[in-house]
């Protein structure tokens, strides 16, 4: 019983969470947000099968997401016009098929190379499909996209998918299933070898694996799950537009996965939940939200390439060897965090004031910065913010080497335990 709970406890908890979330967050806004998160979590984990598990950076993975969305919308509209009925509940399977077929075809030519070449090929395909949306008007309908009504055909068990809550549970169930499936795939021989090819393709060849085949398979499976997500996206919004196949969507999923952490299964989930939430809340507070997002992304690449999940996971060896090792990290971490916070407050202040001057209220001078009323034409707020930045930068310069030092010390202790 205990081992069963340890093994499957996380999944049971996840299932319960999926079930009760709408009861906890009851507003329409929250429900919309949850639906969006569910769809994008599938897409993000699917994308991470490529980036995190397989080491392939794609700039065009929205193709499979968006094309499955378009096909699903066409299927809905076709059903409304008398085509044979296909249960809406099973649409993700249809989307998965679309994604898989496209993934097999495009993946075959893309995955013959890895690294930068792969990334550029993916960019080429992404731009090609985006350009097609404006050309093949009957299928894509240009910039307007296509509408559909998800309330079609029979109503098994009274499910109409009219109310959003029914759509939520549809997304939740499929998200749950997709999460289990994609997690399980990481634990299969293919999943392990996908990691092996990512870390050391040469060695993988010399233990009998065709690295191109491994990449191709990873690509196809990833496209398949992306397709499932795309069809849920179409059902959720009853609309699909060109941005869903374009670099906008491809970039968004890259941001979510990388900021969350590509090296860990939880990373994409963390990233999606965080970014979707911030995107719909912070965007109301600040014009600069997208700038902050970009800066965070760059900062993650420079200082924490493992993403948020990576920051947690990098402490696993110490935590596994001896929890006391972590305690020594506490003070340096606190100092570094404090300095970063000071730096951040100063930088945010400056950015917000510039936005206020140039975009929000040209000509006006009274604004609230961190709820403090200030005048942007006075020198004081600028001076204060600049001073904060200077203090923050100096603090970071002093504290981060200490962080690195104490972390290295802890790692040395871990290695000593392993060797001894």
């Amino acid at each position: 019983m205990k081992t069963l709970l340890r093994k499957y406890g996380v999944w049971v908890a996840a299932a319960i969470l999926f079930a009760v979330l709408p009861a906890v967050f009851t507003s329409n806004f929250a429900l919309t947000l949850l639906c969006k998160m569910g769809v994008l979590i599938i897409f993000a984990i699917a994308y991470n099968m490529l980036l995190g598990q397989g080491g392939m950076l794609s700039f065009g993975h929205a193709i499979y997401f968006g094309m499955a969305g378009y096909c699903s919308i066409h299927l809905l509209n076709g059903m409304a016009e008398g085509m044979p009925y296909f249960p809406v509940s099973l649409f993700p399977l249809f989307g998965a098929l679309v994604g898989l077929v496209m993934g097999i075809a495009i993946g075959y030519v893309s995955t013959r190379r890895a690294g930068t070449t792969f990334a550029m090929i993916s960019l080429g395909f992404g731009e090609m499909v985006t350009a097609m949306t404006l050309i093949f008007v009957t299928f894509f309908n240009g910039e307007d996209g296509i509408q559909a009504d998800r309330w079609v055909g029979p109503e098994p068990f009274g499910i109409t998918y009219g109310p959003q809550i029914e759509v939520y549970y549809l997304i939740a169930i499929w998200c749950f299933l997709a999460m289990i499936a994609m997690y399980a795939i990481t634990k299969t021989p293919f999943g392990r070898m996908s990691n092996a090819v990512r870390d050391n393709p040469e060695r993988a060849e010399f233990v009998g694996y065709n690295t191109q085949r491994v990449r191709w398979l990873a690509f196809s499976l990833s496209a398949m799950f992306a397709g499932a997500a795309g069809s849920l996206h179409a059902i959720n919004y009853e609309h699909i537009g060109f941005e869903s196949v374009s670099a906008i969507q491809s970039g968004a999923v890259l941001f979510m996965v990388f900021i969350g952490g590509a090296g860990h299964f939880l990373g994409p989930i963390i990233g999606t939940v965080l970014l979707v939430f911030l995107d719909s809340t912070l965007a109301d507070y600040t014009e600069a939200w997208l700038l902050y997002l970009g800066l965070v992304f760059v900062a993650i690449i420079m200082f924490a390439p493992g993403g948020l999940a990576g920051l947690i996971v990098m402490h696993e060896p110490m935590w596994k060897t001896d929890v006391r090792l972590l305690r020594k990290l506490f003070v340096p971490y606190l100092l570094a965090l404090g300095s970063s916070l000071i730096l951040l407050i100063g930088a945010i202040g400056i950015i917000e004031m510039i936005y206020f001057i140039t975009i929000i209220a040209v000509g006006r001078v009274d604004m609230h910065l961190f709820s403090i009323p200030i005048k942007v034409n006075e020198v004081t707020p600028w001076l204060v913010c600049t001073a904060l930045i200077a203090v923050g930068v100096q603090g970071c310069r002093l504290s981060y080497p200490k962080v690195a030092e104490s972390w290295n010390d802890a790692m040395i202790a871990v290695k000593a335990r392993i060797a001894g």
């Binding site: 013959r112 731009e127 350009a131 050309i135 510039i354």
Partner: protein
């Protein structure tokens, strides 16, 4: 005929503009192995800086100052950003420049707003230099062409006649050799990156007032520049020139041709009389599919011959 000549001239002009962008990008890639996603963003910065500077001191000083400023920013980005990411590998570098492109676009919006700024052609150049088949050609366009050509000549001399140029050339062919020559590699990298960005900035100064200076200009041009350097061969300056002209002429001439597959089929005597969804495929004109062509070329080239037309080694 007149349309052909006109679009040919425009194509060459557009091609030379592409070359100003792609020459820097291909140099950077050839030396550092970094595919600079943000290259077109430096182009955009050039245009915005020129707009801002020419407000105070006029166009001509801006023509010099703006590219220098862009180059300095590029060098700073290399020194404090890219160099740090270098140890994580080329994919991380690619991601870094991708994020940088995003940040620059947002920063430009923050400072200059989301709508185009009114960056105009200088008054002295705003007259018709000559007319061809009744189509007028402004002096500014000719000036642009001249600057682009002299930039190519200057670059050519820099690479073949100077010491730094020879080091750069050596690094293009044998990336590992420069370190063993005892040169300060990080410094050379920083200079090349800065120079490449400055060239992109110069292109921005020249083209911003014709193409329009707005936050979306980087995203519009960025992928096309990638196409150019991949087709020309990464790291090859000659390849970049040929491919720039090729893509430039292709883009501008294809747009003006209303030939479709159906039309072609009619000429050779085949009548398409079915009325299905496939009908739209044969009815597509060259002008309509021209936006796809560059990317089709890009992917085909990468799949079939990743070293491009003139490249010496694979991506």
């Amino acid at each position: 005929m007149d349309i052909l000549i006109f679009s040919l001239f425009n194509g060459i002009l557009y091609g030379m503009l592409l070359f100003m962008l792609s020459s820097g990008l291909t140099l950077i890639f050839g030396m550092m192995g970094v595919l600079n996603f943000a290259h077109a963003s430096f182009f955009m910065l050039g245009a915005y800086f020129a707009y801002q500077i020419s407000k105070f001191v006029g166009f001509w000083p801006a023509l010099i100052i703006a590219p220098v400023v862009v180059g300095v920013i590029g060098a700073i980005v290399e020194r404090y950003g890219l160099r740090r990411v270098h140890k994580f590998g080329h994919v991380a570098e690619l991601l870094f420049t991708f994020g940088l492109a995003y940040v620059i676009e947002e920063a430009v919006q923050m400072i200059w707003g989301k709508v185009p700024v009114s960056y105009h052609i200088p008054e002295v150049m705003n007259f018709t230099l000559f007319s061809l088949y009744g189509l007028e050609y402004s002096a500014y366009r000719v000036f642009m062409l001249l600057v682009a050509v002299s930039m190519f000549v200057a670059l050519f001399f820099l690479l073949t006649r100077t010491r730094v140029g020879l080091i750069i050339q050596g690094a293009l062919t044998y990336p590992n050799i420069v370190a063993s020559l005892g040169h300060n590699v990080p410094l050379v990298f920083m200079m090349v990156f800065g120079l490449g960005c400055a060239l992109a900035g110069l292109a921005g100064v020249l083209a911003g007032n014709i193409l329009g200076t707005e936050p979306g200009m980087a995203i519009q041009l960025g992928p096309i520049v990638f196409v150019v350097i991949v087709i020309g061969g990464l790291g090859s300056l000659n390849g970049a020139l040929v491919a720039s002209l090729f893509i430039g002429i292709m883009q501008t001439t294809a747009v003006s041709y209303d030939v479709s597959m159906n039309g072609f089929l009619n000429v050779i005597g085949v009548q398409v009389d079915f009325d299905s969804a496939w009908r739209m495929l044969v009815d597509l004109t060259v002008a309509q599919i021209s936006p796809i062509l560059p990317y089709l070329l890009l992917t085909l080239m990468l799949i079939v011959r990743p070293r491009g037309l003139f490249g010496v080694r694979d991506v």
